[in-house]
Amino acid sequence: MKRVNAVVVGAGAAGGIVAKELAVAGLSVVLLERGKWYTANDCRKDDLRNQRTTVLGNAFGPEDDGNPRVWVDPRGAAHIVLPSEGSYQNDAACVGGGTLSYGAQAWRFLPQDFRMRSTYGAPEGSSLEDWPISYDDLEPFYEKAEYEIGISGDYSGTPFHGPRKRPLPMPPLPPGREFSILEPAAKRLGLHPFHIPMARNSVPYNGRGPCMRCRWCVGFACEVDAKNGSQNTVIPIALNTGNCELRTECMASEILTDDRGRARGVSYFDAKGRFQEQLSDLVVVSGCATESARLLLNSKSRLFPDGLGNRHDQVGRHLQGHHYTGAVGYFDFETYDDVGPGATIAITDYNHGTPGLCGGGMLANEFIRLPIHTIDRLPAKTPRWGLGHKQAMREWHKRSIVIMGPTQQIPTAEGRVTLDPTVRDKWGLPVVRLSGNVHPHTFEIGEVQARRAEAWLREAGAIDTSLMSYKAEMVSAGQHQAGTCRMGNDPRISVVDRNCRVHDVDNLFVIDSSVHVTNGGFNPVLTIMAIAYFASDALVRNWKGTGFRS
């Protein structure tokens, strides 16, 4: 197989961007993706089989067969778990990764989100840290992501956002009924509601049409291709350069290193299960937080007996996602308008600045719901089954609003990915073992956020509410997983430097949510994308033909 300049492992939010940036700069690139390449025709609108409701499995990978993980519960008992189960903490496995089927909220983090430790101090038992880069470092790359991927929305309603040079490239979609109910209520409370930034066309953009506003949104591939992910933006550009080859259904097994401890390529199993080696000048790992850590840990050699980048036992630690809390409000009038994407209005007033709390989170109304989403979101007094449940479904499905948001998680070193010593996947590779728990202060923040959501719903006229606040007894990762290969200046407490280069392997990079030091109180995808542009920019600047400038 012909040697190339770069192998990128994982064609998701970050990997797609890295492949495009390198290919456009003239590097030869092989982009490996374990999943398939789906299109708008694979939407299928299956309420029981998509990436959000996985009763009958994940629509966009991985399959339940042959892809187990092990989850260690807080009492120390280990369970084998499947990709369609919550404790697996799955993210999609396909070209586009999570961006094929996500809800597509495309938030910038706030400036404070990059310096959590210096803003709040680290709570006891946490590993809260500052990033080695700032909002200002990322700002041009946020903008680049907003324009290349295509984001609609309008930040003008709120002062609570970081400085920006240009407005978003597309206006927001026209407001739905929930927006018109919630906006005046938020304003009466002195809050600053505005239109959620979305990686979704509100007008024709990038050669594709606008959202048609159907019911099957979050969790589904968009059937009119109006949702913007790496699969319909940067990856086609990468392929069109002629410098990038995308190989789907290829599972990376190990990053190969030479006698001097430099990366020399990637071994993988191809679509037919054959073992292959792709040699390269550099390797970029973009497999998402859990799987990137697994690949590094599975890459053991004489020089790296504990896995690559793991000299100081940092790979896999500080795993975090988001602790979602909020409230359901029940109304005596119809709130449901059957118009997608449903999520339209947000506030960022509560992300920072509450005395006694280390941060907070964005609050927004929930995506348009399918009937299946309502079965366990009924008023507290509803019977769990029987005629009372059926009647409550009729009564409340179209007369309820959910407000919730991602509480910024307080990371810990014990929330982590390791390799399971015995369980293997269908390729014979040791699988991810998840352990640890969410830091208790996260739950305190989440509880306050839920009360705030409830107050907003009450102000909007809810006649009854139920809180969505809980203390999950498991590490949190899921679709917002982050933090297993921390970015930092000190190699003893981080895995990569500020440019996403692994500290002790100068031609190996981890570019995805793994490098997040903290995960903001927002859906993380736009930050993942901005970091991919930022790190690619540094990589290309330092590249000199077959190696790096020293």
């Binding site: 029981l48 009958l56 009729r394």
Partner: protein, 181 residues
């Protein structure tokens, strides 16, 4: 029950009538369609399960769980995506029958509604995990996509007042077509 699939969607009244007859067929030991065509369940198991499902979603102006096809949904998935639940169903249905015979001396399926409720309520103490499993599968089948067999002709969606077929989007997906899963 000869319902023409080509005739398109039934009216609500036709549907309720058709569903009620389907439910009756279950009660006398024939699965909808031809007898003995369950993929996993035995006829006896199907009768017991139908009784439980119909307490979770009873009939009113709209069909019960079994009338809407929830048994078809669960049975089909027990040899597909729910394979790992086969044992739970076998032993859970046995437990339920044992409870029913012990307390009322008869099979659950032939008990009057009031006594069926009592047994299903009793399950929440005796075998809560099984009841929760059946509850989830019943609600998912009934409120999920019609193509999986448990929400025949989108009856639950119509019940909730959702336009069917939806006004937005292409109707390129045959709702009745089985799933690949």
């Amino acid at each position: 029950m000869p319902i023409s699939r080509k005739a398109g969607l039934l009216t609500r009244r036709q549907f309720v009538a058709a569903g009620a007859m389907g439910g009756a067929a279950v009660a006398i030991g024939c699965s909808p369609g031809s007898a003995g065509n369950w993929e996993f369940l035995s006829e006896g198991q199907a009768r017991t399960l139908a009784a439980i499902c119909d307490q979770i979603i009873p009939a009113d102006d709209f069909p019960s769980a079994s009338q809407a096809g929830v048994l078809t949904y669960i049975d089909r998935q027990l040899v597909r995506h729910f394979r790992r639940h086969q044992e739970a169903y076998k032993s859970g249905l046995e437990d339920t029958q044992a409870m029913s015979r012990k307390r009322f001396g008869q099979d659950l399926a032939v008990l009057p509604q009031r006594q069926q409720v009592e047994i299903v309520s009793g399950l929440s103490e005796q075998n809560r995990a099984f009841l929760e499993l059946v509850r989830s599968h019943t609600l998912e089948g009934y409120y999920g996509s019609p193509r999986h067999g448990g929400n025949r002709d989108a009856v639950s969606w119509r019940m909730l007042g959702l336009p069917e077929p939806p006004p937005l989007g292409r109707a390129q997906y045959d709702l009745r077509k089985g799933s690949p899963s």
